[in-house]
Amino acid sequence: MPLDTSSYSLALLRLDGRRWNELRLLRAQISTQASADGSSYLEMGNTKVICTVSGPTEPKGTGGARAGGDNAEVKVEISIAGFSGVDRKRRGKNDKRISEMATTIANAFTNSLFTHLYPHSTITLSLHVLSQDGSLLAALINASTLALADAGIPMRDYICSCTAGSTSSYSSNDESADPLLDLNSTEELELPFLTVATLGASDEVSVLVMETRVQVGRLEGMLAVAVDGCKQVRDLLDGVVRTRGKKILEGTTKL
């Protein structure tokens, strides 16, 4: 049994050697899959996801008029690989948690994409989780942002996301609880945490999900840290997009 999160107070170090306000290593690539309209691969620590975007396209099947109406519809499909967690486990399409994440992501992007430019059409995001180590929803949102940018769909700004937690659990009344940025799976199991996504570098929150109990007094600190983390994430994502753009302009990479 390795140490648990209670050891934070001993030296202000988290279980993986980070400080309270440090993100994990975030790496990403775009245009990873030539056949898709847009695609991305993103790692936040050991959480690894890929995203492909198809669309905007006309909705499949009949009833073209039914779908979307004046705005494009954003569809999100998430599949979690059986090998992604510690235990090999298959999760069906109808898993409640998965469909809730899908809805959250779809809602967020419906509001930030210029969907009115594509009436009667669908934008499909398909997300695949290859490895899970906490902050899954945040990683999925970030990967989606990158893939949508790659697909060239106009948007108001990046949606950037990360999680924040608190060093002390709900019922332990630790006065000096520090907020924590970007939790890994061990921390998520033991501590209260929330997922925040903001629109670009602004303080405009587009997603806020919290499923654990936390004392109200700690919420503000957690939110502040998370929003700050989102700004960091935005710079990182922007860097990825710009590097790719520079390469295209230099002609080292084909579009």
Partner: protein, 994 residues
Amino acid sequence: MTSLKRSLASDPSAANISSKVFVRSTRSGKVQKIVRELYLRDDIPCSSQLCTSCLAKAPRDAGGVLVPFVLSAQPAGTRAYPQGHYLVPDTNALLNALDLFEQTSAFYDVIILQTVLEELRNRSLPLYNRLVGLTKSEEKRFYVFFNDFRLETSVVRDVGESINDRNDRAVRRAVKWYSSHLARAVKAAGGRSKKIPAVVMLSDDKENLRKAKEDGIEACSLKDYVNGLENADQLLDMISVAKEGRELRDAKAAENLYREYYSVSKMMTGVRNGTLHQGIFNVSPYNYLEGSVHVPTFDKSLLILGRENINRAVQGDVVVVEVLPKDQWKEPSTKIIEDETMNKNENADAEEGEAVVTEKERRALQEEVKRVHSKSTEGRPQPTARVVGIAKRNWRQYVGHIDESSVSQSVKQSRKQQTVFLIPMDKRIPKIRVRTRQAGEIIGKRVLVTIDSWDRDSRYPVGHFVRSLGELETKGAETEALLLEYDVQYRPFPKAVLDCLPKEGHDWIVPPSKEDPGWRDRRDLRHLEICSIDPVGCQDIDDALHARPLPNGNYEVGVHIADVSHFVKPNNAMDTEASIRGTTVYLVDKRIDMLPMLLGTDLCSLKPYVERYAFSAIWEITPDADIVKSEFTKSVIKSREAFSYEQAQIRVDDPSQQDDLTKAMRTLMMLSKKFKQKRMDAGALSLSSPEVRIETESETSDPIDVKTKKHLDTMSLVEEFMLLANTSVAAKIYEAFPQTAMLRRHGAPPKTNFEELANQLKVKRGLELRVSSSKELADSLDACVDPKEPFFNTLIRILATRCMMSAEYFCSGTQAYPEFRHYGLASEIYTHFTSPIRRYADLVAHRQLAAAIDYEPLDASVRSKGKLEAVCKNINVRHRNAQQAGRASIEYYVGQALKGRVVDEHGFVMKVFSNGFVVLVPRFGIESLIRLRDLADPEPESAFDAEHYVLRTRGSRELSVELFQKVLVRISDVKEEGTGKRKVRFELVSAGEA
């Protein structure tokens, strides 16, 4: 607030990212491979006050607060390291001798490595918790260095390297880094190299020490290190002998005396499919070779007889047992067997020729078998079992004294290490073998030891000496022994707790201005004629009362309880301390407070003539004692008078007193009698335990006499209203918080508990004990009278009390409503509310009630079920311990009061064995054993009629003793030769109706 990011430039192959991969198996047997990231960094400080470069990079928490550096700039030196030194213990050093590290005389400036901390946590959680406690104490200067996260000191396990070797290497690497880092730091500060403290690795692993020498690291074994300290002899004893001893014995390849325990998985499977059973092991107080285990599968406890079957279980351990075949079932022993008398002359050092069962024990067993065999088939053999494994050891520190006979005379004065026996105070704990160098010094003293191990090849557990409490029979040593034995926290309150007290100290007063926030939602009840009634000399006055007639003919009655929750806010240091202490412990000459004196005896205490904050329960009650309405409010009161029970009684009985206060007390008295009658009609039990009071000399507080407690009507007056308050509050908080109310229940005792008593009554007196409900029991207990012997009824009540379950605190969400019942009080719901100064449960109830009446929001800690359950569990244990400690203290003082005196007193036979009987002397509230061999010399022959509970003797003395018989005994005190222990001794003067 800024966030840092890890640089993107760092490639996966970059040096500052690493990962840790390990395999673990889950409880269900699944194997999981865990991959974790590790971010290596260079800003983990060394925390030495000598170093300035680390200070610049030191981490800050979210509030921007810098963690202060702990390791002293001028650490203490020893003979070997005159320049001063920091210690770096490895895991084994901590496992073997954490007691040493807790010493105040040495072991300062210690660096605990992350590697070591992690390994310690794997090996022993309690030790880990103690160590974490140490690192938090400021004066000990312990620093946790996260070596695995620091770039220079992180170590990756090599192919083929064992995890232990890797950890040892990590420790050496960290030690090496520390010494070079400190050298650099001192040089940078311009200091001379002489002043660089040595960094010393402590390890008991020879291989590790050798490699350290090779690497040029300062290292030494724990023993060598301690030898270099000033008080080496004392400290050396505290190094666990477990390891050393084992090596020694391995060499000898001694035979194993006990059966091997089953493997954990075998035990778990067995328990799950019902072939094995798990329960807490309890030793019979009369026979140390007889234990019992109550398992959930059966109503009655399983018997465990004999050392082999007990198989190294110690009182309180959670054991796994296997039921023995039916031909080995036995009756519980009717014989008294004491370790002291059986195995007096054992040699603690002798290793060879040690058998589990000594010759004498074997003979005792033979007689036992003969008796069982000669008996008719009516004897009901009970299922027996044997211990096959220990689920959880419950070893604590034990108080006892050294068996003088086990100390060899020749070495008494020398410093040679030798093995001696420690006889624990608690008879149910076996002797403990202790290796010590101070045998000569600690003879005749109370000493504290811990058990380290109990191997298959050792008859007794092996432990080590912790410290000496002082001479046997001195008041200080005996009191401390009691407190330790019952795990009472008796140390002075730490500064953090005292800091929570109001700044004004004793000058604190109720704010004169009603605008003060303290007055918010408080009712002004200063005009009421309130008084308190308590025992003589009571300083912590929890409760006060008032009563006044209302115009409609009803009465208004108020119970006012000290408003402790105003002063003790949830989750500060004082609250935490109080929740750990759980209750105030009353000893004969000492009170160990739950809250600091300032609160307990002054600011909270409802002293007369001063204004105090209170929490009041006010009822309108009809003259027939029906409650019309009740309300609860925070208030300010001014008690008019603090009476003792006696004073109040005199005042009530004196017809010339016609003032308002006395009239109010008479009203209360009248109502309380009606309440009591109602309770009795509902089936409340009036139970009994022998209660005595020690009279002490006022100057020296030496005991001079023992008096039985007198019962006064004023006592039941107070009691009735406290019960009323408790019940009403219980109902109120349960209504407000159905899931998390703090309540108290008293379970109905299972019928089997009363079987023996009922049978005894039937055989001896032809009386019937009906136990189907508390009402039935109360009625049949009332019928148990002997017209000639008024005490007989009390005796039966005392015995019945011992058959009861103990009442317990619980959190309402954990039980179904019918289970809330308080059996003894015949109340549907009950809690403790009226003594918040001395019980933590009451404080919780206060907070919940305050929230229920919307006075203040409920704190999270009393809203979470899990937290409350933990609190309940702790205070239940503390409560029981406090009671036992109180009783043991009285027992000790009774012994002291009788010192040097010889008294003839009447007593009653409570229990009859085949070789002795137990007599209770109500005058002193003590019970003691009279063995056959105490009756006459030579020991008279005896015949024991178990069916009729009669013991007849022939030969040197002829008499017959039966259960419930009144006998005359001579009480004296003797100092036992072998143990130097003073004991109350009974001698039978006459068995007849004297």
